[in-house]
C-alpha cells in the first residue's frame, strides 16, 4: 500500500511539471507584459522598468520559470496585483467559506442521488422511469443561471425565507443562515445530471448475473437493491464524486458570485476581471495538484469498498 502511494506520487510529478509549464507559457508568453497594466495611466518608462524588475520580467525565461517553481513550493506568490493582499492569505481565508458550501452540498447531492437512483431502479423500464428521465433532460437544459436568478428572486427577495446575499462571521451562522439557499440551488441544479448518471450505474449492475441469483435465492427486492447492487455500483459513484470535487470548488463560482460568498470561485472571477495574474496562477496550480491527489484518494477508496481490487 505504502509503495503504491509512493509510486503514484512519483508518477504525478511529470503531470505536475507539465501543468506548471502550461501555466507559465500561458501567463508569461501568451499573456503579454503586465507592467503596463500595473503601472497605471500616465506612467513613465522608469516606473514601468521598475515594475518589470520587481516582477522579474526582465530576466531570461528559465530564471522566471525557476522563480515560479520556487513560489509554488514555498506557497508564496507575493501580493495580488489589484488589492495588494498576499496571495497565500487570500487562498487560506477563502477556502473556509467555499468548503462551508461545498461539503454539505456534495454530501447531500450524493446521498439524494443514490437514494433516487435506487428508487428508480425498482421501477426500471416503466412509464415512471421514462417520465423521470425526460424530466431530468429538461431540468438539465435550463441554465444554472436561470435557477439562481429565479430562486434568489422568489425565495429570498419575494418570500423572504432566506437572506438575499451575504456572509457572516460565525461558522454556524454561515452554515445555517447564509449557506442554505446556495446549497438548495446547488442541489436543484445537480439532481438531474446526478440522477441520470447514477441510474445508469445502478442499471448496469442490476442487469448482472449475481442479481438474478440473489432473486432466485428468494431475497427481497429491497435487500438486493440496497445491499448487493449498491455495493457494486459504489465504485463508479466514488469515481464520479471524487473526480468532481476539485471542479466543484471552482464550479460553485456562480453561487458564490450571486450570493456574495467570499470563496475561491469568487476570487477566480474577480482575478480574471482585474487581470490579477498571481491569484489565477496560484489557484490553477493548486487545484491541478488537488485533482491529482483526489484521484489517488479515489483509488485508495476503491480498495476499501471492494476487497477484490488489487492496487498495483
Amino acid at each position: 500500500m505504502f509503495a503504491y502511494i509512493l509510486r503514484r506520487l512519483w508518477q504525478m510529478l511529470p503531470t505536475m511539471a507539465g501543468v506548471v509549464v502550461l501555466v507559465f507559457v500561458l501567463f508569461n508568453w501568451v499573456g503579454g507584459d503586465p507592467s503596463y497594466l500595473l503601472a497605471g495611466k500616465m506612467a513613465d518608462a522608469q516606473a514601468i522598468a521598475g515594475i518589470r524588475a520587481q516582477l522579474g520580467l526582465d530576466q531570461p525565461w528559465y530564471v522566471q520559470l525557476g522563480i515560479f517553481v520556487k513560489q509554488i513550493l514555498t506557497f508564496d506568490f507575493g501580493n495580488a496585483w489589484s488589492t495588494g493582499e498576499p496571495v497565500s492569505h487570500i487562498l487560506a481565508t477563502r477556502l473556509g467559506p467555499s468548503l462551508t458550501v461545498l461539503v454539505p452540498l456534495t454530501v447531500l447531492e450524493t446521498l439524494i442521488g443514490i437514494a433516487l437512483a435506487l428508487a428508480i431502479a425498482f421501477v426500471r423500464g416503466s412509464l415512471t422511469d421514462r417520465l423521470v428521465m425526460v424530466a431530468c433532460t429538461v431540468g438539465m437544459s435550463i441554465s444554472i443561471l436561470v435557477y439562481i436568478i429565479v430562486f434568489q428572486y422568489g425565495l429570498a427577495y419575494k418570500l423572504g425565507l432566506f437572506p438575499v446575499q451575504g456572509w457572516g462571521d460565525h461558522f454556524l451562522e454561515n452554515l445555517l443562515r447564509y449557506a442554505t439557499l446556495p446549497i438548495l440551488i446547488g442541489l436543484a441544479v445537480s439532481v438531474a445530471p446526478t440522477l441520470r448518471l447514477f441510474r445508469s450505474f445502478v442499471l448496469d449492475e442490476a442487469g448482472q448475473d449475481y442479481v438474478r441469483t440473489a432473486r432466485a435465492k428468494g431475497l427481497s427486492e429491497r435487500r438486493i437493491v440496497w445491499v448487493h447492487v449498491l455495493r457494486n455500483a459504489a465504485i463508479p459513484i466514488i469515481t464520479y464524486v471524487m473526480a468532481n470535487l476539485p471542479a466543484l470548488l471552482i464550479g460553485a463560482f456562480l453561487l458564490e458570485r450571486f450570493f456574495g460568498i467570499p470563496g475561491i470561485g469568487r476570487e477566480v472571477i474577480l482575478a480574471v476581471e482585474r487581470s490579477d495574474f498571481p491569484v489565477i496562477k496560484a489557484i490553477t496550480v493548486y487545484v491541478a495538484a488537488a485533482t491529482m491527489v483526489f484521484n489517488l484518494l479515489a483509488d485508495l477508496m476503491y480498495q476499501a469498498v471492494d476487497p477484490r481490487v488489487q492496487l498495483k
Partner: protein
Amino acid sequence: MNQMIENASPGLWALAWRRLRADRIAMGALAVVLLFLLSVLLSSTGLVAADWEDEVAVNYAPPSFVGPDPALAALARPPAPVPPNAFDPLAADLSALKAELAQKGHAAQAVKAATLPFGADKWGHDILKKTIKGGQTSIVVGLVAALVAVALGTLFGAISGFYGGKVDDLFNWFYSIFTSIPSILMILTVAAVLQTRGVLTIVLILGLTGWTGPYRLIRAEYIKHKAREYVMAADAIGASGWRRMFSHILPNVSHVALVQMSILVVGFIKAEVILSFLGFGVPVGTVSWGSMLNEAQNELILGKWWQLAAAASAMAVLVTAFSLFADALRDALDPKLK
C-alpha cells in the same frame, strides 16, 4: 454473383438512419433543432432580426398578451416639439444634423410602440429579435467550438492511437495535464490571458480546452482498429501511415466523432451563455443569450420578467432538443445489444 449483390447488407449509416427514423422522439427533436438552425441561417444572412438594435418601443414595454403599461403611456407619444430658443448655441448644428438624418431616410422621432409581441428591454429593443440574434451567436459559437474541439481531438487521438509508443506517451502527457485542471478553470484562465473579447476568442477558448473528451474515445477506437485485417491489407498494398489513418480507419470511427460533437455542442452552448453572462464572452455590441440573462437579472427586481422568460425558454428548448437528439443518435449508431 448477382444474388450476392442483391443481398448486400446496408451500410452503417443507412441502418442508423433507419433506426433513427423509427424513433419518434428523435425525429421531433431533430425537427426542433433544424428549426433553430434555420433561424440561425436567416439571422446570419440578415433576412431576419437584422434591425434588433433599433429602439422601437418604450423602455420595458410589456408583451402584447399582458397589455400596455399605463405608467409608460407618456413615453409612447412623440415628445412635444421644443419651442425655439434664440440663445441656443447648438441650434444651427442640431438643425443641420436633423436635415442630414431626414435625407438618409430616418424618420425623426417615430412613435414608440407601447407593447411588442414579447416585450422590450431597457432601451426598447424587441425581445423576439434579440432572442433570434442571440440564438445565432450562441449556436454558432457552440457549433464551431465543437467542430474545433472534435477536429483537434480526432487528430491527436488518431496519431496517438495509431503510432503508439513515444508519440502516445507524449499525447497522454498532454491529456493528463489538461484534465487535471477543471475545464471551467481552464476556460477562465485562458479568457484572462487573451485580453481581447470576441466570438473568435470564445470559440478558440472552448475548442482548445474541450478536445480531451473526443481524444480519449478516438484514441481507443484507433487502438482497436489498428490491429484489424483491413488495415493490415492496406499496409500490404503499400498505403502510407497517414493514408491508413484518414482514408481507411477514419470512416469507420467517424460515428464516434459525430456523437461526441453533438454532445459537445450542448455543453459549449451552455458554457458560452455562462461566459457571456460573466462578461468574458461576447463583446458589448453583440447580443447573446448570456448577455440577455445578465440584463434580466437586474430587470427582475423591477418586475420585468419577459427577457428572462424569452432567453431561458429559447435556450431550454434548444438544449433539450439537442440533448434528446444526441442521445438518440448515439443509440442509433451503436445500439447496445440488450
